[in-house]
Each structure stands twice: as C-alpha cells, then as structure tokens.
C-alpha cells in the first residue's frame, strides 16, 4: 500500500478528438478493495476515460498513477501486465475453444522439451479448476465457450482477469444482458473480489444496482467530473439530478413546423426476439418530429429497424396513410416512402471506398435510368451537385471518397442519399452521434427544415437536450417497452430519465 491510499488515480486526464473534447481534466481516484461506480449520460466520457485507463487511447494530458507510481500505457497488453483488466460490455470470447483455452489464451502453460515446447493441457486444467474453486464458480473448464450462457462467459472473463493478477477490474455495463438471478451471482463474485483487495470500476446506468453494490460513485457530464460521492449518501433522484442538471448548452434552430394528420400508426408492435421490444404503439403525424428517448439497450434501434423491414416482427400492425401495410424488407420500405438513417454510420451507412457521388445515388439509382438501362449521369450529377449545395457538404469534389470526409459531412451525404428518394417518413437513428458541435447545428437545421416541408420524422437520440430541443413529442422506451409519450415543450430531462429507467 502506498501512502495516498488509492490503488489507481486518474489525474486531470484530457482527451480530444477532432472537433470534440471528450475528457476535460478528469480526476478519479479509486481505493483498493472498493467498488467505484462511474455514471453519466451516454457521451459523458465514461468509456473514453476507461479506454485511457486500459491503454486503448493515449490521453492528451494528465497522469495515470497506479499504486503511487506514474505509468504510461501504450496498449491493452501493458495495462493487463500492470494489473488492470477490463470486462467489456460486448464479450468477445473464442467460441469454438474450451473455457480453459480462453482463459489462458496467449499465455498457455508449456512443457519445455528443450528443442520444442508443448502446451501442458494437464496443468492448464488443474490451474483452471483451482481458479474456479477460489472464486466459487461452477464452470467445466473443458466445454466449448459457445455452449456457455452469457453470465457464465462473463464469470469466465472475470476469472481470466483474476488469473492475470488484476488489481483493478473495469466492468462496463456488466449486467446489461444478465437476468436478475445472474446479477445476484455477479454481485457475490464482486464482493469476494473486494474482500481480496481488488478494486472494481463499475460502469452502469442502473441506479438501483449502483446503490446496492458501489462504495463510491463518480458522476460525469460532458467530459467533466461533476463530483465523487459516497454511495450511501446518494439516492436515485440525486443521481439523476447530477447527471443531467445543466443548462442547455446546445442551441437549436427555431422550428416552425405544424404537425398535421396521422401519417403512420403503429400498434402493438412486438419483436420475434423475446429480449427485444414488445407491444409498442404510437402515432406519427405529418410534419412532426417524434423523439425516441431511452438508454442504450432500450431497443429503440431494433424497433425502427423492424418498422423499416430489416428485422422481424412477431405481431402488431402498421398503418401508413390509413392503409395497413406489411414491410418485409428495405425495398418495400422505400416504396412506402420511408427512409432510415442508421445508427452506426460506419458499418451500415457509408460505403467507404466509394465516392460521395456514388454514396448519394445508391438508394435512388432507378430514378436515373435512361436509354438502354444506362444511367443518366447528367441528371444524377445535377441532383448530387444540388444536394452538396443545399446541405453544405464540405467535399473537395463529388468524386472524393466518402471515407476522407469528416463525420458530419459523411452524415450529410447519407441525409442526401435519402432525401433524393423523396421520402415522407424519415427515421433518424442517432443522427448526430460522433459529430462535432458545429456540424450538429447544421444537422438540426436540416431536420427542422424537413419537418417544415411536411415530412414526418422519428428521431432516436440518447442526448436528452437534443430530444427536448428538437421534438414535438417524445416517446421514451425502457427495456423494450414504451414507458410514456411526453410533450416536447413541457418535457424535462428528469422526467425522461424517470421513464427511461422505469423498469430498472
């Protein structure tokens, strides 16, 4: 033990990305043998901070102090070697290998025969059994990881961290895919780790959980620390207040849209996946911006992708302009004049190696067919040029590869792609994610303008000011269910947060 009394200290960590300051002089100190919770809205900087601690990002400024000694981490391997482990929200084990091979991956015990070395399977099995016994885990080291439940895989990852002599274990949303029973099991393991002097940094949105398991809570907001509190002095209300209590620093363009008659009615929509959304109903009016709020994992993306025909629906009905419709795929969705801007621009939005031009016209090629199935480049160019002007896309030329543009400009190109299909209903899934503040305003302007022109908009956002600032009405979801629809003018962040955590 060093004199400071802390096992790990993050001192004045600052980290910027192009156009955004993700962390601003963040200081968090963690005591050994304690659970230190990290809370904040999506985008508050929790993940970035943890990536700095785990060697994935290099901080621009600030100091990492482990056991009283300043350290620098160039990669995750160095973090692991110095005793910092991370249990990721999305677990990535090797499915078709045994549990023990997963645990000792990259550091298999070997038997040295001088000329050659062989993996010592017997020792690996004995070591794994001993490890599991110590942690009171009931897992067969020889089964394929593919056959384990999520909870067991998580236990395995924790055991792996312990076997690595971890003194600090970061857990990112560890309960997001666990049942209540499994959460209890996890908490038992966490308490045992604590008793052995291991510090846990626990990231979660779930208030009740935090209040039960954490010793200290650090709340972050907009890349800064609001404060560090003793968990026993906190209540759910206090946490919410400190997470969201701020002035609306973002500004929004004035909106002059007037919602009209109902364009789309959704009734009792239920996913085929029992873990996803169920029994969701809402109306969407002409010229309306309907915000869709909730925490990560509330199944909002799944809901809109089902409406767009990309995912399967078990039951429920959709009416468009009063006619009941079934949408089985994106081609049918397009024919019903629906457009979808997906959440993850990189994986389902842009086609990185193609030009701005090609990215803009891909959803709308049929419109440019000329003689003999040839495309009319003239008409397409005209549309592309107009879109670039109207949306103010900053690109050296229409033939520039889209991957070389900034996030905001890429997003504008995707907007243009769908605008060219002349949709009536525009579904926007986190339209400003990963976009710097200036470009955000431009995206808001585009959205406000669309609504003014009578387009109906469903906008998913995890940023509450954005929801309140842009929506006529806000539907909030929690764990796959719609928990309420608020009026945009009277909605407060506290009220949204309450609805978003209703079942937690």
């Amino acid at each position: 033990m060093n004199e400071s009394g802390f096992i790990v200290e993050m001192r004045k960590i600052t980290k910027s990305f192009p156009g955004v300051k993700a962390l601003d002089e963040v200081t968090v100190k963690v005591k050994p043998g304690s659970v230190h919770a990290l809370m904040g809205e999506n985008g508050a900087g929790k993940s970035t901070l943890m990536k700095c601690l785990f060697g994935i990002y290099k901080p621009d400024a600030g100091e990492l102090v482990l056991d009283g000694k300043t350290i620098t981490l160039a990669n995750a391997k160095q973090a692991l070697d110095s005793g910092i482990s991370m249990i990721h929200q999305e677990l990535h084990p090797v499915p078709y290998r045994s549990v023990m091979e997963n645990i000792w991956l990259g550091r298999y015990p070997v038997r040295d025969f001088g000329l050659f070395k062989l993996v010592n399977g017997g020792k690996m099995l004995r070591d794994t059994k001993k490890l599991f016994e110590g942690l009171q885990m009931d897992i067969d080291p020889r089964v394929w990881v593919k056959n384990l439940s999520v909870s067991k895989i998580q236990s395995m990852e924790i055991a792996k961290a312990v076997s690595n002599n971890a003194r600090v274990i970061i857990m990112d949303e560890p309960t997001s895919s666990l049942t209540e029973n499994e959460v209890g099991h996890l908490f038992r393991i966490i308490r045992q780790l604590k008793s052995e002097g291991i510090a846990i940094i626990y990231i979660s949105h779930k208030m009740e959980e935090i209040l039960e398991i954490a010793d200290e809570v650090t709340i972050m907001r907009d890349g800064r620390v609001v404060g560090t509190y003793l968990a026993k002095e906190l209540t759910t209300d206090l946490i919410i207040n400190r997470m969201v209590g701020r002035d609306l620093t973002h500004r929004f363009p004035p909106r002059v849209n007037v919602p009209g008659g109902v364009v789309m009615r959704v009734e009792g929509l239920t996913s085929t996946n029992p873990r996803s959304f169920r029994d969701v109903s809402f109306d969407l009016r002409k010229g309306e911006i309907l915000g869709l709020g909730g925490l990560v994992g509330a199944q909002r993306t799944e809901l809109v992708e089902s409406i767009f025909g990309l995912r399967n629906i078990q039951s429920g009905k959709i009416w468009i302009n009063g006619k009941q419709t079934i949408i089985r795929n994106s081609i049918q969705a397009k024919s019903h004049k629906i457009a979808l801007l997906t959440e993850d621009r990189r994986t389902t939005g842009i086609i990185p190696v193609l030009s701005v031009f090609d990215n803009m016209v891909i959803a709308n090629i049929s419109k440019y067919l000329g003689k003999f199935l040839f495309l009319s480049r003239r008409r397409a160019s005209e549309d592309v040029r107009k879109s670039i002007d109207v949306l103010r896309v900053k690109t050296p030329s229409p033939m520039t590869r889209i991957e070389s543009l900034s996030g905001g400009n890429q997003q504008k190109v995707i907007f243009a792609r769908w605008l060219l299909t002349e949709p009536d209903i525009f579904i926007l899934d986190e339209p400003t994610r990963g976009i710097d503040v200036g470009a955000k305003y431009e995206i808001y302007t585009i959205i406000a303008d669309l609504a003014k022109r009578g387009k109906s908009i469903i906008m998913i956002s995890s940023e509450m000011p954005e929801l309140i600032g842009m929506s006529d009405r806000i539907m909030v979801m929690c764990e796959g269910r719609a928990t309420g629809i608020l009026d945009g003018k009277s909605a407060t962040q506290e009220r949204i947060m309450e609805l978003a955590t209703q079942f937690m």
Binding site: I331, L340, T347, P352, L354, S366, L373
Partner: protein
C-alpha cells in the same frame, strides 16, 4: 507574370504526381515493355506484339468476368474449367463435315453461330449455377465455385469421353470458326485481328456496365459495404445472380475464342485460367476485399502478366524462374496496393 508561371509549374508537378499514383500500374507496364525492348529489340517487333495482344484478348475477356465478381467480395474458381467446357462444346459443333474423327459424325452442317452460341450458353449455365449457390444457398463463393469447378471438369471430360479411349482431343475446325481466333479484318496493310476487336468490344461493354448502369453501381456498393447496400434497398441476390451470369457469359466467350485461336480443344483447356485471371485483376488494383476495381486496371493487369510471360521467354529466362518472377509480381503489386488501407487504421 512570374507568379502565374510558378503556379502553373507547381500545378503541373502535382498533376504529374497525381497521374503517377493513379496510374502506377500502367507506368509499370510501360517500364517493363521498355526494359525488355531495350535488352532484346526483337521483343518489340510487330508480330511479337500482335501475338501478345492475341493471347491477352482471351485472358482479358475471362479476367473481366472474374473482376466483376471480385468487386462484390466474391471469387470464382470455376472460371478456368468453364472456359474449357465452352471450348470443347463449341469445338465439337464447329468440326468440318469432312473431318474423319468428328465427335458427332451424324450431325448435319449448320451455321458458325451454333458453336459460338452453344459455347457462350454453356458458360451462362455455369454462371447461373454459381449465382444460385452463392445468392440463394449462401454458400461462400470460394467453396461454391470450388465445387462447380470440379463438377464442370467432370462434365466436360464426359462430353469428350469416347470409351475405351477416354477423353479425346478435338480438331478439324471449320475455317470460319478458326478465323475468329486467327483471322483479321481490314485491308492487308492495316488489318486488325478479329479476336482483338472482340476483346475491345467486350471491355467497352463491361466498362459501361460497371460505370453507367444500375447494376454496376450496385456491384460496387455491395462490395464496398454490403450492410449499407441492404439498408439502401439494393437487392443482394438479384445483383449477385447477374454478376455471376455475366461472368459465365464471358467465360463461355473466352472458351470459344480459345478453341478458335488454337484450332483445337481438349478437356484440359482453361486449366488454371481462374488463378491467372484473379492474379491479373489484383495486379490491376482490384481489391479482393471488395468495392474497388476498374476495367482499365484489369486490362493492364492482364497485359503485365502476358508481357512478362512473353518477355521472359524472349530474354531466355528459364521457365522455372518465370514462375518465381510472376509470383513475386502478384505479391508485390497487392502488397503495395494494400498499404494505403493498412496505414489508415
């Protein structure tokens, strides 16, 4: 005034450099031709160059088929065997009436179009089969075409099998047929080989398909990011079928031209052409991870391979060394090409 001139010069330097990076492969081709030509002037004589172009014509038609598939992130190992199938089918229907060992002795005389269309049709059938397996059964293209490659070889061998002699070579083709491969059009002093004209027409056609049609845009989008293509309402199965079908047509045509040029055909024709075609495409800048590739690149890739093949023979390099050099070219070309993407991560 001096300002303008320096700006002008700077622009020129930059545009030259830009041209060089965009057309590196073309410059490599020119350099190779120059070097071999200087060392051995006979390499540059007219007949030799025409010979290279004739061989390249067949290879180019095949490479253009494979290239389209590569752009969609697929691959086609059946290309070579399909070329062989088309060669024996068209050849068997193009034999002279007075040729003693005809495959079909009782067949009546018919137009030269019959063997040509039959060969192309055979290629189309294989292409549709590949497309179906890849698009509907979702079998990875590598495995699907590995299977059809083997099936097609069996089928074409059976086609020319005359037990107990086994698979027999075909010969005695009509002049109109061989003319497709070795004949020329135009006045004596300025005649152009028909086979080269066909290759040019096909290249223009594929260029138009890839760059000017809906199908082409979809091919690039599917290869560049299949998920984004689906979300944008691109029908993956339809476009996959079309790509393999067009490729099949091209292999069929390639087989017809090969038989016509050689004046004969065996069931081993086309063996290994699929790998040559893939190699030519990647040398020409087609990315096997999809979404990238130009017709001009594929053509230059074919030419580099054929120029090296021919040039190394002219220079008297041993056949074994030729293999080593060609292998190195593939690895180095793709190695250089891939660096632009590696560094970005």
């Amino acid at each position: 005034m001096s300002d303008i001139s320096t700006t002008g010069r700077r622009l020129t330097t930059r545009s030259v450099r830009e041209f060089a990076t965009n057309n590196a492969i073309l410059l490599v081709l020119l350099a190779v031709v120059l070097v071999i030509g200087i060392v051995k002037t006979s390499f540059l004589n007219f007949d030799n160059i025409m010979n290279i172009l004739r061989i390249s014509s067949v290879r180019a038609v095949i490479a253009l088929g494979v290239g389209g598939i590569l752009i969609t992130r697929g691959t086609d190992l059946s290309a070579g065997r399909t070329v062989g199938l088309a060669a024996v089918i068209s050849g068997s229907l193009a034999q002279r009436m007075n040729y003693p060992s005809r495959l079909f002795p009782n067949m009546a005389d018919h137009s030269i179009w019959i063997p040509v269309l039959a060969g192309i049709g055979a290629g189309l059938v294989v292409g549709l089969l590949n497309g179906t397996i890849v698009a509907f059964l979702k079998v990875p293209a590598f495995i699907a075409t590995l299977g059809t490659m083997t099936i097609v070889y069996g089928a074409e061998s059976l086609y020319v099998d005359r037990p107990p002699m086994g698979a027999t070579p075909l010969g005695g083709f009509k002049d109109e047929f061989t003319n497709l491969g070795s004949g020329s059009i135009g006045p004596d002093s300025f005649s152009v080989p028909i086979i080269i004209i066909i290759a040019v027409v096909i290249s223009v056609f594929i260029f138009l398909v890839l760059n000017k049609t809906r199908l082409g845009k979809n091919i690039y989008a599917m290869g560049g990011n299949p998920d984004a293509a689906v979300v944008s309402g691109v029908s993956i199965w339809k476009n996959t079928m079309l790509v393999y079908a067009i490729a099949g047509l091209l292999y069929g045509l390639g087989g017809v031209l090969l038989a016509a040029r050689a004046g004969g055909a065996t069931n081993n024709y086309g063996q290994g052409y699929e790998l040559d075609a893939i190699a030519a495409c990647v040398i020409g800048g087609v990315s096997v991870s999809g979404g990238i590739g130009r017709v001009s690149g594929m053509l230059v890739g074919v030419l580099i391979k054929e120029v090296m093949n021919n040039g190394l023979v002219v220079l008297g390099v041993s056949a074994y060394w030729q293999q080593i050099v060609l292998g190195l070219i593939i690895v180095v070309a793709v190695g250089i090409d891939i660096q632009k993407y590696v560094r970005k991560r």
